[in-house]
């Protein structure tokens, strides 16, 4: 009878580290792989034992159990009956080991609950409203479009449900587009003494004419005149919390980004102000005249670094 102790099979000490185990296993596997030993029929058996031994010892939990004598190598030495996926899949989907779910385009538990709620709702009626079958009511979905500023600052909105009830929905500050608020117990009533379902309100945020949101930050493009850009200025700038004064440093240009600290969403983000220099709307002969006679102190080419210039 060949050795059955997995440590002996791999030729390692009981105290072998995972790396030592791996090295020993790799070496033996190379040596005994049946495909590399076509003339040795016993290699297949030997290789199997090596794989099984490594399988046991490379699994920390199994190795510990073997070391504690809770499982023996014999039970594991026979190549175990092959387990099939179905042996795990259902238990996993029911909240066991772990679930592989169908993902996008698949089904959500809510979908299934709705189907089942309907099925049992009909079943109950079919049975002549038999005694107390309890089932949770179905969830109801709504879409609520709110202003950009309401989403940024938070708001309470009243929605009217199809059955005439009204519901005050508190939208938290900084809510994201597509966020779903779950209002417990505001869905369809339950069957029997089952609890009511939930109302699921999907928030859709309307875009704003000049505020743009990036995470908790707010970006605003602020048009400035040539004078303001060259000479600097103190300007009123809109923020989601109202107007604030912003100092434009002299010699700022289009693309200069200034930060209003803490003026983003919920005081966590910032507001960034991107300057854009705007020329006067009509001809300015004096300006043109000045530019014709103007010699810059430093010459520069703003297109440096662009190919073909």
């Amino acid at each position: 009878m060949a050795a059955t102790d997995p440590y002996q099979i791999l030729g390692v000490k009981k105290t072998a580290t995972e790396a030592e185990l791996r090295t020993a296993y790799r070496k033996l596997a190379k040596q005994h792989h049946p495909d590399l030993n076509p003339g040795k029929p016993e290699a297949a058996e030997r290789f199997k034992r090596i794989s099984v031994a490594y399988e046991l010892l490379s699994d920390k939990e199994k190795r510990a159990r073997f070391d504690r004598g809770e499982i023996d190598a014999e039970g594991n030495e026979r190549a175990p009956e092959r387990p099939f996926y179905r042996d795990y899949a259902e238990a996993a989907a029911g909240g066991g080991q772990r679930r592989y779910s169908a993902g996008g385009g698949g089904m959500s538990p809510d979908d299934l609950e709705e189907i089942l709620a309907q099925a049992f709702g009909h079943a109950r009626r079919g049975a002549g409203g038999g005694p107390g079958f309890d089932l949770r009511g179905a969830d109801v979905r709504y879409t609520l479009t709110i202003d950009f500023l309401d989403a940024a600052n938070g708001v309470t909105r009243r929605i009217t449900l199809p059955d005439g009830r009204t519901l005050d929905v508190r939208i938290p500050a900084g809510v994201h587009d597509g966020h779903v608020l779950r209002l417990r117990g505001q869905g369809e009533p339950g069957i029997g003494s089952g609890p009511a379902g939930d109302a699921l309100v999907e928030v859709s945020i309307a875009p704003h004419p000049y505020f743009v949101r990036e995470g908790d930050d707010i970006i605003v493009t602020l048009p400035v005149t040539i004078q303001e850009a060259v000479l600097g200025a103190s300007l009123e700038v809109p923020t989601i919390g109202g107007k604030v004064r912003l100092a434009i440093p002299p010699n700022s240009g289009t693309g200069t980004r200034l930060r209003l600290r803490g003026r983003g969403i919920g005081g966590k983000g910032h507001q960034y102000v991107d300057l854009r220099v705007v020329l006067p709307p009509a001809e300015e002969p004096a300006l043109a005249e000045f530019l014709r006679s103007w010699t810059p102190a430093q010459t520069f080419n703003p297109r440096d670094g662009m190919e073909g210039t």
Binding site: R26, E55, R86, A89, E90, A92, G94, Y100, A127
Partner: protein
């Protein structure tokens, strides 16, 4: 279980192909300190994909479709089992009413 042990179970599967399956999300082992860590369910799923590809000649781009449908079936079966277990806990009258509907 480690990748090496999984690959040893399936002689003709190489690390590259297994890695590709993981990359596509067909198998989702955990990331351990020394690489992938396969639970029993992951190993069984690898064998399933292996069978689909090697023994049933399922085309590579069809595998996700098969897996998605299988996942839905298993999810439904688990749900149905929950429902049946719930029904089982009801009083005899209710059970009779459900059967009769």
């Amino acid at each position: 279980m480690r990748s090496e042990a999984v690959l040893a179970l399936l002689g003709d599967l190489d690390a590259g192909e297994l890695a590709a399956w993981i990359e596509r999300g067909w198998v989702q082992p955990e990331t351990g300190e020394a690489g992938w860590e396969f639970l029993e369910i992951d190993v069984a799923r690898v064998r399933l994909i292996h069978d689909l590809r090697r023994h049933m000649d399922v085309a590579e781009d069809t595998v996700p479709l098969v897996l998605s449908l299988l996942d839905q079936v298993y999810e439904l079966r688990a749900r149905l089992r929950d429902v049946l277990a719930t029904v089982d806990r009801q009083s005899p009258e209710i059970r009779a009413a459900l059967r009769g509907s």
